[in-house]
Symmetry: C2
Subunit: 243 residues, 2 copies
């Protein structure tokens, strides 16, 4: 068929790490869903909101954040195509996070009930969802370690690496180019720095030839050295299953 099924990003994600039968993929693609299109900056999930749908990013980028008592925003994660914004748990209370589109965003909303039914009927799908949950948790913990024991350059480099890994299906390579979906203020809120310091850190990275910049378009001359500086491990994004 010439037009890809809209839920393809989800199917790819769930099948990337383990074997799923044709029948199960078919069941997954047949699940009822509704596609939503949002423009950059629009809210996907609001704090305190209760949703009875499972949201999947189809294309574009979003970020998840919380606010401190002083109104400071902290970005907690970035989401791209295939990411499940809320794990399908029957007991989830109101959302603790806000999720906002960074770029024009396409999202699939699958009724929670359908998702739970799918999970219960097909063990391989359940396993895929578990793997996804495990990945999310590991990424979040990677962010904790990133913020805690790494200097400004390392932190910024790490986020850039993550975005590269999400953009390029095979991870980074020398000379690869990405357009950062995050402004410098966003980077600041994601790394616990100030915009001023983010700006200076980006310049420092540029002067060390770790990156080239042209507005938000970033080129990575040698992926290896950037990944090393960032201590970035690609295991969460590169498919684990050997080809």
């Amino acid at each position: 068929m010439s037009v890809a099924h809209p839920l393809t990003p989800l199917a790819q994600r769930l099948t990337a790490r383990l074997d799923v039968s044709q029948e199960e993929v078919a069941a997954l693609l047949a699940v009822p869903h509704q596609e939503r299109r949002l423009s950059a900056g629009a809210s996907v999930v609001k704090e305190g909101e209760r949703t009875n749908a499972c949201l999947i990013v189809l294309s574009g980028y979003a970020h998840r954040h919380r606010f401190s008592a002083k109104g400071l925003r902290h970005i907690i994660s970035i989401h791209g195509a295939g990411d499940i914004l809320n794990l399908p748990s029957p007991q989830s209370g109101p959302s603790e996070d806000c999720v906002q589109a960074l770029t024009p965003l396409r999202v699939a909303a699958i009724p929670l009930e359908s998702m739970l039914a799918l999970r219960r009927a097909y063990p391989a799908i359940a396993d895929g969802l578990w793997a996804e949950a495990e990945t999310e948790l590991s990424i979040a913990r990677g962010w904790i370690a990133n913020m805690g024991r790494r200097d400004a350059k390392g932190r910024i480099a790490h986020i850039i690496c993550e975005i590269v890994a999400r953009s390029c299906p095979d991870g980074g390579f020398d000379g690869c180019v990405v357009t950062l979906p995050l402004s410098q203020a966003d980077l600041a809120d994601a790394t616990g720095m100030t915009t001023v310091h983010v700006n200076r850190t980006l310049r420092a990275l540029e002067q060390e030839a770790m990156i080239l910049r042209e507005r938000r378009r970033v080129t990575i001359p040698t992926w290896r050295s950037l990944a090393e500086l960032a201590e970035f491990k690609a295991i969460h994004w590169a498919p684990r299953r050997a080809g």
Copy 2:
């Protein structure tokens, strides 16, 4: 019966948030398992290790950490009774984290296969495990926000609050006392600070009467004000299901 079943902490955890039938609880408690006792400082999970057992903390505290390239340790999470150290996913690769006992620790090792069978046979248990995964993820994200947009006092206060919430079944109250399972060096590695600064921050908290100290024994005169300073929300530890 006079002697509690060893897996009681797990059962309590899974039933705290949703309804589980007698039959399901019985199945859970009947799952084969092996109890391990570790002394403080012992390794529970090593980095790169592959485990085919699901590990549950029965009593005591443990912490999870990763190392940066420079050998700096960062503590990523703290685990207490009822916590599941590795989510039962059939596809999990080698562990990315180390887990180490902070105090004398009792851990139950449930064969992964048994856990998966249980998960597949009893939907309520699967749901409980999902809720647990969701909680872990939310706590991890809370740590990210904690490290990113909070000052030294707030960060330390937050960890103290978490430990209080884990120790006291009903959360903190005025005058409650806990013995921190973490040394000042551990607190430093958990908050991204230096031990020197942790020390000074603890003293500052004491001088503001947020805490009283006597070695690692901490008394909280007014829970409310500490929780406010820490911006601590107890939702993950307090049972959600109304009595």
